[in-house]
Symmetry: C2
Subunit: 205 residues, 2 copies
């Protein structure tokens, strides 16, 4: 559909929004018109927050998580257990694990998983820096917390081969039925593995 | 959920995005991280396009459509029929009608419809300016093209009462079954009205 925008400025703003993943031109138009109804301050706050973020945000020199400082707040926290490193795909995964409040170690953000289909190889990820981090010593356990997919498993295996001779303990997060899942609708790989990898029951989960 | 953002700048940008209608915090995060992966120029282009739009866009002094100039390109077009004015709710409706290529008159953008539930009365809309525009003369027909809803009908009636003594011809866009609708699924008001308001058939629609 060849849209007849009444304003070139409007068209440009809508086209910028429509470049975002999952935002079509109708949604983009709706969002731009919404912003246009807000006051100047709100629009400037929106626009500059993104520009400032792009210019000023850093990646932690230790774990490669996003950070406002050279070393992120997790890596700089002396209360955390720096002998345990949890390897994750991205920032959202760090936030998801932090939200569980079950983990007191530190992280290593790969920036993705190995995916030949998408042209992502080991050198595109923070794997070499993980190997060097482990080689520097002080780390006792590396927890692999990647997506339970073929790409995640490939990456797990690649990292395992890179670290297996270092003597560090390599673990992987448990896979099995999720809380409140109905067994009859759980896929057979997950259900089968949950039986094979059953654990001793001590009266409570 | 109390998100633990690794960066204040990131948190601010995500919160700005999440203020937009229909954008939740997870989608906002996804969009911000997408932008962060683009180069500086792309992010600046995105941010500044919105700020520039807000600062520089104008509303046409004749029809109140968005415009880059004081009088919009439609109102400034001598090829169009300035004796026919189509009254619409918003800019998207102008664009939708323009895309049909079936209309050669000009527009009047109300900026909404009368909706007591939302606290929108006639004075919040460009109704008085329509009355004045008609009073200045030169207009032969006003086409009411508002939403086929209670609010649209209320607004149609209000405008009709304001203009009925001016001698201008007042019309309303046809309501009936939409192209490719299945009759059995068409609501009874629409179907009933399509029979009452049937038109002479001349061998083709």
């Amino acid at each position: 559909m060849n849209q007849q925008y009444p304003s070139v400025l409007l068209e440009k703003a809508v086209n910028e929004f429509a470049k975002l993943p999952g935002i079509g031109s109708k949604t983009a138009m709706r969002l731009v018109l919404y912003l246009l109804r807000q006051d100047v301050q709100a629009v400037e706050s929106f626009g500059y927050s993104l520009i400032t973020l792009k210019h000023e945000v850093k990646y932690c020199s230790v774990c490669h998580n996003l950070s406002d400082t050279d070393v992120c707040s997790i890596c700089a926290d002396a209360q955390r257990d720096h002998t345990v490193v949890c390897v994750v795909e991205n920032i959202q995964d760090v936030m998801a694990i932090e939200n569980t409040r079950q983990y007191k170690g530190v992280y290593h953000v790969l920036g993705g998983v190995i995916s030949p289909m998408d042209g992502i190889g080991p050198s595109d990820l923070q794997i070499q820096s993980l190997v060097e981090r482990v080689a520097r010593g002080g780390i006792l356990e590396v927890i692999l917390a990647l997506s339970p997919t073929m790409e995640g498993d490939t990456t797990n295996f690649y990292i395992y081969r890179k670290l297996e001779d270092t003597g560090v303990r390599i673990t992987v997060i448990a896979r099995g039925v999720a809380q409140n899942d109905e067994l009859q609708y759980t896929d057979e790989v997950t259900l089968g593995r949950s039986i094979v990898n059953r654990i001793a029951f001590r009266g409570t989960m």
